[in-house]
C-alpha cells in the first residue's frame, strides 16, 4: 500500500470506528469494537512508523502530511499506549457494566469520544502544516473534555470546566504563537499555502525574523505548555486526572501531555536556527522544566488522593522531559527515551489505581491500604510502578533520568543539576512514604472481592516487563530510532529534503 | 491685534446667560411646554442685583468673598479662551493649564463658602462635588494634552487653528474620542444630568445646588453668572475642535457662536432623554471619560510615530 493512503487511513480508521460504535446496543460489543478499531490503527501505525524509522521521512498530501523520525517515534509510542489503554478500558468498563454502574449512553459517549481523540492525536503527529497540528490539539481538548465527566458528579463537572477553560485559553495562546511564526516568514516571501509548512520553515530557518520568532516561542511554550501540564499552568491537571475514570486518566498522562510537548519539540529546531543557535529557547525550556519538577515535588508530599498523587508525578516527569530537551545533546536523546518510559509506567500506575479503586471503592490513600494483601497482582503493579516513577533502578526511568543528569554535567549546568536532584529527592521520599502503606499497610475495607483474568495479568506484566528490560538493555533498533528522532530536534546528522508523494532519499 | 482679541471675551460676557435659556427652552420643547423666555436669566440677574443679601450668623468673611472670588477666577479664565479664529485676550504657551487651574479655583471658592456655613447639608454637597471633580480632572487634562499634541501647539489660542477638516480625516477617531470625553466632563463640571439634576432640591440628590443654597441677592447673581460663563467656556472648548473651517474670520466667528448655542441645545436634549445616574454609578461614568481620553492619547501617540507630519 502506498504510504500516502496509509497516512490517510491512520486518521480515518479511528474516526469511522467512533462513528460505528454509536448504533451498537451493548457495552461489551462497544468495547470490543473499540479495541478492534484501535488494534487496526495500531498495526497500520507501527508499520508506517517502522518504515520511516528505517528509511527516512515520508511526505504526502501535497506536503500537508509528513512523518519523520521524531513524529514516527512519538506515533509508535502513542499507539502502543493507546492499545494498552483500550484493552484496559475494556476490562475496567466491563466490570462497571456488570455491576450496573455504567449506562449505555455513557458507554457510547465514551467509545465515540475515545476513538475521536485517537484520530485527533494521530492528526497532530502526521501533519506537516503547523496550523493543522494546532487544530488537532484543540480537537483533543474538546473531545477529551467530556471524557472526564462520563460519570457526572459535582467534582467531575468542576474538573471538566477547569480543564476546558484553562486548556482552551492555553491552546489559543499556542495559536497566537503559530500566527507569530507565520509572521516571522515575511522576509522569505513564501506563498500563502506554504507559510506554515514545517519542512519549508525548517529548510530556511536561518532566515526567519528573530524578534517575531522569540515572541512566538514564548506564546507557544506557554500555550502548549498549559496542555502539557508544565507549571505554573498545570492547575487543571490534578483535578482532571483525579476525576476522570482510570482509562481516561491513563490516556491523559500517557499520551496527551506527550502530544502537547511534541508540538513544542517541533518548534525547537526552528527557534534555535532562527535565533542564531544561542540557546535562548533551550534556556526557557530548562527553566520551565525545573520549575515543574520543584512544584510537583512540593505538592506530592502532602497528597491524600492516589490519582492526584499520580497526576503531580506526571507534572514532574513532563518537567524532566522538558529539562532534557532543554539541555540538548544526550539530554534530548534521554528526553525522548523518557517519554516512552514515563508513558508505560504511568499507564500501569493508573491501571492499578483504577482497578484498586474499584476493589476498595475509593481512591483515598488512607483507606486504600494494604493493596498487596488484598489484590496481589494489581497491588504489585501499583507498588512497582510507584517505585519506577520515583526513579528506582533498574527500571528504565532510572536510566533516562541518569542520562539527563549526565547531560547536565556535560553542559556544566551545576545549578540545574542540584535543583533537579533536590526535586527528585523530595519526590522520592514523599512518594515512598505514600507507597509503602499502600502496599503493605493494614488491609483496608474492601468494597468487592477481586477476580483477575488473563487479560488483566497481561496488562500488569507487559508494561512492567518492558520497563525492566529497557532499564537493563537497549536494543540497537531503539537506539537508532531515538538518535534519529533526537537529531531532528538537535539539528545534527544529515540534512534531509522531503519530496512529495514518496520517501526521501 | 489687541482690539479683536476682546471679541471672544465680550461675546462670552454678554451671551453666556443666554445658554441657560436655550437649555431650558429645549427641555420645555421636549416636554411639550412653552417654557421660560430665552432671556430669563438676564431678568433674574437684574432682579437679584437689586435685592439685598441675607447672611447667616455662623458665616464669616469667607462666605461673602466666595462668590466674588469665584466670578473673578472665571472671568480671567474667559480671557484665555479663543473663539472662532480670534485669539484670546491672554495667550501664552501652556495656558490651558492655567485655564484648568482657574476653573479649579472657582470650584474651590464655592466649596469653601459652602463649608463655611457650618451646615452638614452644604458639606455633603461639597464633598460630592469635590469627589466628582477629582475624577473628571484627569479626563480634562488628558484631553487637553492630546489636543496639544495633535496640533503641535501649546497655547489654547493656537491649538484649534491646525485642527482643520483634513486633520479630521486623518485622525478622526482620536478627535471624536476627545470630544466625547470633553462632553462628559462638561456635563460633570457644570452639574447637568446625568451627573446632577439642576432642578431638584431633594437632599439625597443635590450636588451643586446644595452648595449655593444659602447665598442670596448679589452673591447669588454672581454665582449664577459664573455658572453660565463656565458652561460657555466648556462649550467653546468643544466647538473650537470642530469649527475653524472657513477662510473668513467673521463667518467663523458666527459659526462658533452658533456652535456654542448648538452645544447648549445638545445639553438640553441629553437632559431631556436621560435620567440622572445613581450616585454610585457616576464615578464609573467619569472614569470612563478618563479612559476614553487616555485611549485617544495612546492612539494619537502611535499615529504620530507612524506618520510624522
Amino acid at each position: 500500500m502506498r504510504h500516502e493512503t496509509m497516512l490517510w487511513l491512520l486518521i480515518l480508521v479511528p474516526a469511522v470506528t467512533g462513528g460505528l460504535t454509536l448504533p451498537l446496543t451493548s457495552a461489551q460489543a462497544l468495547l470490543r469494537a473499540l479495541c478492534a478499531g484501535v488494534g487496526i490503527t495500531v498495526a497500520l501505525g507501527w508499520y508506517v512508523a517502522g518504515k520511516v524509522l528505517l528509511s527516512g521521512p515520508v511526505c504526502a498530501g501535497a506536503e500537508w502530511l509528513y512523518l519523520d523520525a521524531l513524529s514516527a517515534y512519538n506515533l509508535a509510542v502513542m499507539l502502543l499506549i493507546y492499545g494498552l489503554c483500550s484493552a484496559y478500558a475494556a476490562v475496567y468498563f466491563g466490570v462497571e457494566w456488570q455491576e450496573g454502574r455504567l449506562t449505555l449512553r455513557q458507554a457510547r459517549q465514551f467509545a465515540s469520544l475515545w476513538c475521536g481523540a485517537l484520530a485527533a492525536m494521530t492528526l497532530v503527529f502526521i501533519s506537516n502544516n503547523l496550523g493543522i497540528m494546532w487544530v488537532g490539539i484543540e480537537a483533543t481538548t474538546l473531545l477529551t473534555g467530556f471524557l472526564i465527566c462520563v460519570h457526572v458528579t459535582r467534582e467531575s463537572l468542576e474538573a471538566m470546566w477547569k480543564y476546558i477553560l484553562i486548556c482552551s485559553v492555553g491552546v489559543a495562546f499556542a495559536f497566537m504563537g503559530t500566527l507569530l511564526v507565520g509572521a516571522s516568514t515575511h522576509e522569505l516571501g513564501l506563498r500563502a499555502p506554504e507559510v506554515l509548512l514545517w519542512t519549508r520553515l525548517h529548510a530556511h530557518a536561518a532566515l526567519l525574523n528573530p524578534v517575531w520568532l522569540k515572541a512566538a516561542f514564548i506564546f507557544l511554550l506557554v500555550g502548549y505548555g498549559t496542555k502539557a501540564g508544565l507549571a505554573p499552568m498545570h492547575n487543571w491537571l490534578p483535578d482532571a486526572h483525579s476525576q476522570a475514570p482510570a482509562p481516561v486518566s491513563a490516556l491523559f498522562s500517557g499520551l496527551m501531555l506527550n502530544t502537547a510537548l511534541y508540538c513544542v519539540m517541533r518548534y525547537v529546531p526552528l527557534v534555535e536556527a532562527g535565533t542564531g543557535n544561542t540557546g535562548w529557547g533551550l534556556r526557557l525550556l530548562v527553566g520551565f522544566g525545573l520549575f515543574s519538577i520543584l512544584v510537583a515535588a512540593a505538592f506530592i508530599v502532602f497528597q491524600r488522593d492516589l490519582k492526584r498523587l499520580l497526576a503531580y508525578s506526571s507534572v514532574e516527569h513532563l518537567g524532566i522531559i522538558t529539562l532534557g530537551v532543554g539541555l540538548g545533546g544526550l539530554g534530548t536523546f534521554a528526553a525522548l527515551f523518557h517519554t516512552l518510559n514515563h508513558s508505560l509506567c504511568k499507564t500501569l500506575a493508573f491501571f492499578a489505581a483504577g482497578r484498586l479503586g474499584q476493589t476498595f471503592g475509593t481512591h483515598d490513600m488512607h483507606r486504600l491500604s494494604g493493596a498487596m494483601r488484598v489484590a496481589p497482582a494489581w497491588g504489585m503493579g501499583l507498588f512497582g510502578s510507584l517505585l519506577a516513577l520515583i526513579g528506582v533502578a533498574p527500571f528504565a526511568l532510572f536510566m533516562s533520568e541518569l542520562q539527563i543528569l549526565k547531560a547536565a554535567m556535560d553542559g556544566k549546568a551545576i545549578l540545574t543539576l542540584v535543583l533537579f536532584l533536590f526535586g527528585a529527592g523530595v519526590v522520592f521520599v514523599g512518594a515512598l512514604g505514600h507507597a509503602i502503606p499502600l502496599a503493605w499497610g493494614k488491609a483496608g475495607p474492601v468494597a468487592r472481592p477481586d477476580r483477575i483474568g488473563i487479560l488483566e495479568s497481561l496488562l500488569v506484566v507487559v508494561p512492567f516487563g518492558l520497563l525492566l528490560v529497557l532499564g537493563l538493555w537497549m536494543p540497537e533498533s531503539l537506539q537508532a530510532a531515538l538518535n534519529n528522532a533526537a537529531d531532528v530536534i538537535r539539528q545534527t546528522g544529515n540534512a534531509f529534503t522531503a519530496s512529495a508523494g514518496g520517501m526521501a532519499p | 491685534m489687541i482690539s479683536i482679541s476682546f471679541i471672544p471675551l465680550l461675546l462670552a460676557l454678554v451671551l453666556s446667560p443666554l445658554l441657560f435659556g436655550v437649555i431650558n427652552r429645549t427641555k420645555a420643547f421636549f416636554a411639550g411646554r412653552r417654557g421660560q423666555p430665552l432671556l430669563q436669566l438676564y431678568f433674574d440677574l437684574w432682579k437679584l442685583l437689586r435685592k439685598g443679601a441675607v447672611y447667616s450668623r455662623t458665616t464669616t468673611w469667607i462666605f461673602r468673598a466666595g462668590p466674588v472670588l469665584g466670578l473673578a477666577a472665571v472671568l480671567v479664565a474667559a480671557a484665555l479662551m479663543p473663539l472662532g479664529n480670534f485669539p484670546a485676550l491672554i495667550a501664552f504657551p501652556a495656558d490651558f493649564l492655567l485655564f484648568a487651574g482657574l476653573l479649579g479655583l472657582m470650584r474651590f471658592c464655592t466649596v469653601v463658602a459652602a463649608l463655611d456655613t457650618g451646615s452638614s447639608f452644604e458639606g455633603m454637597g461639597a464633598s460630592r462635588e469635590v469627589f466628582f471633580s477629582a475624577l473628571a480632572e484627569p479626563a480634562l487634562f488628558i484631553a487637553l494634552v492630546t489636543l496639544a499634541r495633535q496640533a503641535g501647539q501649546l497655547s489654547l489660542s493656537t491649538i484649534f487653528g491646525p485642527l482643520s477638516g483634513a486633520h479630521w480625516l486623518d485622525s478622526g477617531p482620536v478627535l471624536a474620542l476627545v470630544i466625547i470625553a470633553l462632553m462628559i466632563v462638561l456635563l460633570a463640571e457644570n452639574a447637568r444630568i446625568p451627573v446632577d439634576d439642576p432642578n431638584t432640591h431633594l437632599e439625597l440628590t443635590m450636588i451643586h445646588e446644595v452648595m449655593v443654597l444659602d447665598h442670596s441677592g448679589p452673591d447669588f447673581a454672581f454665582i449664577l453668572y459664573s455658572a453660565g460663563l463656565k458652561l460657555w467656556l466648556f462649550a467653546a472648548l468643544i466647538v473650537g475642535m470642530v469649527v475653524p473651517v472657513t477662510n473668513s474670520v467673521w463667518l467663523d466667528l458666527l459659526l462658533s457662536t452658533g456652535g456654542v448655542l448648538v452645544v447648549a441645545v445638545i445639553v438640553g436634549v441629553i437632559e431631556s432623554i436621560m435620567a440622572r445616574l445613581r450616585l454610585v454609578v457616576v464615578p464609573q461614568l467619569l472614569v470612563g471619560a478618563g479612559v476614553l481620553a487616555a485611549m485617544a492619547f495612546l492612539l494619537e501617540l502611535t499615529l504620530k510615530i507612524h506618520n510624522p507630519s
Partner: protein
Amino acid sequence: MTTNLILVLVVLTNLKLLGSSRLGASIRMVALQGMVLGLLPVLAHLQNLSVHFVLLSLGTIALKGIVFPWLLFRAVREAEVAREIEPYVGYVASLVAGVLALGVSFGMCARLTMPENIASPWLAPVALFSIFAGLFLIVARKRALNQVLGFLVLENGIYTFGVGIVAETPFLVELGVLLDVFVAVFVMGIAVYHINREFDHIETDRLDRLKG
C-alpha cells in the same frame, strides 16, 4: 481609515465589557465586536481581494454575529442567570486596568517591526489589547458565562492579529480555526448547562471542592 474606525470600535467594546456587569449587554458587545472584525479580511486586503477573503468575512460575521450570541443566550435562558454577581475585580478597577493594558500593548508593539503593507499601525496593539482584555475577563469574573465571553474576546484578538498581519495563512487553517472556536463555544455552553443542573448556579468561585 475604515480599518482605524473598526479598531477603535473594537477597543471601545472591550472597554465596555471590562466596565459593565450586565450579561445581556456583554453578549451583545461581543457579538458586535465579532461582526465588526468580520469586515477586517476584506478591508485589510482591498488590493488583492479574492473569493477566499470574502467567504472568510461572511463566515466570521455569520458565526460571531449570529450563531454565538444565539448559543450564549440559550445558555443564559437555561441557566436562568439573573442576578448581578460581584466580580473579583471591581468595574472601575477593571477599566483602569484596561487602559494600562492598552498602554502596555502600544508600548510592546512599538518595538516590533511591522510588515510594510499593513492596513493600519493600530492593528497589532489592538490585537494584543484584546488578548489582555480577554485574559483579564476570564480571571476577574466569577460567572462561567462571563468567562466564556472573555475567551471569545481572546479569540477575537488573535483573529485580528492573524487576519491583519499574517496575510498568508492558508484558507483551510482559518476555516479549521473558526470551526474550532465554534465547537469550543458549543461545548462550553453544554458544560454550563450541566454545571447549572448539578449545582444550581454557575459561579465558578463556588466550584471549590477540588483543592491541593
